[in-house]
Assembly symmetry: C2
Homo-oligomer: 509 residues x 2
């Protein structure tokens, strides 16, 4: 086996000493420790758990600039992006601390006994959510901080009360190692068991497979390729006890240019589109890979501006040479499809860089060849020119599930947009107007999810506070004595700030 080393994205060359690789025995030990820590960790009160999440955020900041330097070297992404992503990662942890404190996630429900009900008395019933158990988290390559070792999956699982075992992404082992050390310090300083957070590293897929197959793991969070996500889902389903896999996988994020908006500002939209397409070398799950519009002068203006923009785009360092190679291959495959016309190409890519590419086709041709809708991870996009709204609707209905759909629209487009909305709702997790899908707010009303194959489970989101629900399950307590009930379900806990559904009526508190 070759050594496992950190790779500098810009050169594709290794840096530093060979890194230790986790073994099958390490997986076994980590999962056993996580299971042993579960009952202790989940019994922490809301304040303790919230303070622990905040402590992780503080420890991440305390790493200092060495984190940003490792991030830049390993990902090829620039300093402002790294600093922004660090802020996002810390903000995410603090948001979950706030969510944990407020207690709504516990979904407390109390149905008082009805001793006089006929023909039979009703027992006292109380419900709360408990965490599902130890969670395996697979970091993503394209957000080495916000979707990786201390990313949204880790933050939401820890918030839910689940111990976490991270399989660090091999494309940023130094960055991941620094973060893991920060979390481990927070665990220790909070007086929590070691098993609450553990970090496994290595280049092989076997490591991740062993993790998902370990009987102590009860759920999986993953962000990455469709192939990777589906492989993990298959392993999880084949277990003696199947477990849920939350895999965020593949999306081309249709952007609909509505007629009136196109007429008013086709040119400006074309320029803005290129900005979204090429940001971060196009390495976003929400990259706008598909433009849908109806033929007309507005569309011509959009195409002209986008063509100019893409032609002038500089190539950019991609996250790994593997991703750069896959991007080049994807572009080649798309180029070779009959009916696909290459409109523009920016500076040509290299073994480490990707260049922007823009294609176009017609609605009819797109409908005839499913391969045109395959994701090409990077700054590639295809414009689909439709005859009319009916054809555009047909193209939409034929799409696979997506993370996002974007509408560029003016007031005069509202009637048409309203006709499209039900279809969009069935196809995507987030619908946005007059913006670009590449910004994903970490907030309460965010859905970063969507129907298959955008994710493996459309009932969930991996960004935003609703993500905590993925790692919870309900337990009901019937006629239990006050002292035996979990603290938050006892009568003397009323007024602790958590909302409760009392006999079907929601009460704040």
């Amino acid at each position: 086996m070759t050594d496992f080393r950190s790779i500098v994205a810009a050169t594709g060359e290794p840096q530093g000493e060979p890194l230790l690789v986790s073994t099958a025995a390490d997986v076994e030990a980590a999962c056993a420790k996580a299971a042993a820590a579960f009952d202790t960790y989940r019994a922490t009160d809301r304040e303790t758990r919230a303070a622990f999440l905040e402590r992780i955020a503080d420890e991440i900041l305390a790493i200092g600039d060495s984190l940003i330097e490792a991030y830049m070297a390993e990902s090829g992404l620039p300093r402002p992006r790294g600093e922004g992503e660090r802020g996002r990662t810390m903000g995410q942890l603090r948001m979950f601390a706030d969510v944990v404190r407020k207690g709504q996630w516990q979904q407390l429900r109390i149905d008082p006994a009805l001793p006089d009900r006929a023909p039979l008395p009703r027992p006292d019933l109380r419900l709360r959510m408990i965490p599902v158990g130890p969670v395996a988290v697979f970091g993503a390559s394209n957000f080495p901080l916000a979707f990786s070792t201390a990313g949204g999956d880790t933050a939401s699982a820890l918030a839910a009360g689940c111990p976490v075992v991270v399989k660090g992404h091999p494309a940023h082992p130094v960055t991941g190692g620094l973060i893991a050390a920060a979390i481990t310090k927070a665990v220790k300083d909070a007086g929590l068991p070691e098993g609450v957070f553990q970090h496994l590293v290595g280049p092989s897929n076997d490591l991740g497979a062993a993790l998902v197959q370990n009987p102590n793991i009860m759920a999986v969070g993953f962000t990455g390729s469709r192939g990777g996500g589906l492989a993990l889902a298959r392993l999880a389903q084949a277990r003696e006890v199947p477990i849920p896999v939350y895999a965020e996988m593949s999306s081309i994020n249709p952007v609909l240019l509505m007629p009136e908006a196109l007429k008013a500002r086709g040119d400006a939209l074309g320029t803005a589109f290129v900005g979204s397409l090429t940001m971060g070398a196009g390495q976003f799950c929400t990259n706008p890979g598909l433009i849908l519009a109806i033929e007309g002068e507005g569309l011509d203006a959009f195409v002209a501006a986008a063509t100019t923009g893409v032609s002038e785009a500089k190539r950019q360092t991609m996250l790994t040479t593997g991703i750069a190679a896959a991007y080049a291959k994807g572009v080649e495959t798309l180029s070779a499809l009959p009916g696909v016309e290459k409109l523009a190409e920016g500076e040509i890519g290299s073994t480490t860089c990707g260049g922007a590419v823009l294609f176009q086709t017609t609605g009819e041709k797109f409908l005839a060849d499913k391969a045109m809708g395959d994701e090409v991870f990077g700054a590639s996009s295809i414009i689909v020119r439709c005859h009319d709204e009916a054809e555009l609707l047909k193209v939409l209905e034929g799409l696979e599930g997506q993370l996002t759909a974007t509408l560029h629209m003016d007031a005069a487009d509202e009637a048409a947009a309203s006709r499209l909305l039900p279809v969009l709702e069935r196809k995507v997790g987030r619908i946005l107007a007059n913006g670009w899908p590449t910004g994903v707010e970490v907030t309460h009303a965010m859905v970063h999810g969507g129907p298959f194959p955008a994710t493996s489970d459309p009932r969930s989101t991996s960004v935003g506070s609703l993500a905590i629900d993925r790692f919870l399950r309900p337990v009901s307590y019937q006629n239990l004595a006050q002292d035996v009930l979990p603290p938050e379900l006892r009568d003397d806990a009323f007024g602790d700030g958590a909302p409760r559904l009392m006999d079907g009526t929601l009460t704040l508190n």
Copy 2:
């Protein structure tokens, strides 16, 4: 192929004319109709949908006594049970009407725009739950009303806004047909599209397989055997677009007799246990199939009373001859296991009847043979005599997932019960004290669910108002114009009675 007919449970003989059997083309047509009805049905406002659910309840009552007669003939269950179950079924529909009206299920979330936020403004984000799409429901044999054609799965899916295609249980086709006609009338009278509810019937498993494999079906509700549930889950996972299967399958529902309670009333507990064990010929998902206790005089008294009770138990008509045969086979298998002692047997069963049987073993032997923990659907139970609390805990830790765990306990048992509670929470969906698991309240704090193999998805319940969540998924709307937003997310909908999470803070109304 032999004719498909209604069978009288008490005789095993057919009654009435041969029944029409749904074909593969019927499945195809029903699913297409359901998909076509989806956008219309899910756009109904809360009041319309609630009134529709209440209308179904009224139509079920309006069938009159012919429903109860069909129920009794096809299930072999007595009149009071049939009338009670009809009331439960109607109550369930009315509870969901109330839930729909209150609107909490929509989980509305609004994060207002922050135009002045630096470095970038925050967009306006709004979230609601939408229904997942057409749902396939498989009725259960043991609750021909409450868990079948108009049962909890159908009620919660319709409440969520999902069209439903029921695969009626072949053991009660006349009962199911009457119910289906009542729902169909309610659909028509409410002016809803026909595709909102459809009913397929037939004896073959192929029908159900075709239903689960149909691309228009987006989720499955099932109550039945482990084999049946797992087969459907496999089909659902193998689809081009995998879908969730909510299968409630197999549970032996451990009952823990705590030392002080046993000491105080071992005899009375033994008698009461037999009542729960033999109710409805033991044909409940929550039947107490496993008794756990620590050796002592109290346990001896329990065993003596239970032995007497079971010995005196009359055999009872089972739901089908197939179930009676499977029960006899299960009892035979358990009897033949080394280390299992048959304590008592009631009146011997027949081709249509099942008799009660009581077994015992030791903790050590139970731990050594997993087969002792297999479900025997019917009035069979096994007492596991443990040396001490440590052994009892070991037995608990070794159990598969269960729907329920029961504690019979006195105040002096509370410390011991608190030690067991974390284990029970990890193993089951509902923990109850000083009662019997066979009563399942339809209410807000109920969980009728639990870790695999009790169900295929422990994050859910199939009874109670929380069951609606199974058929919902979140969609986020970013910067959409007021007129394009779904009505309940517009500013002018505030005050419509539904709670909203406003910038992370829960507000009523």
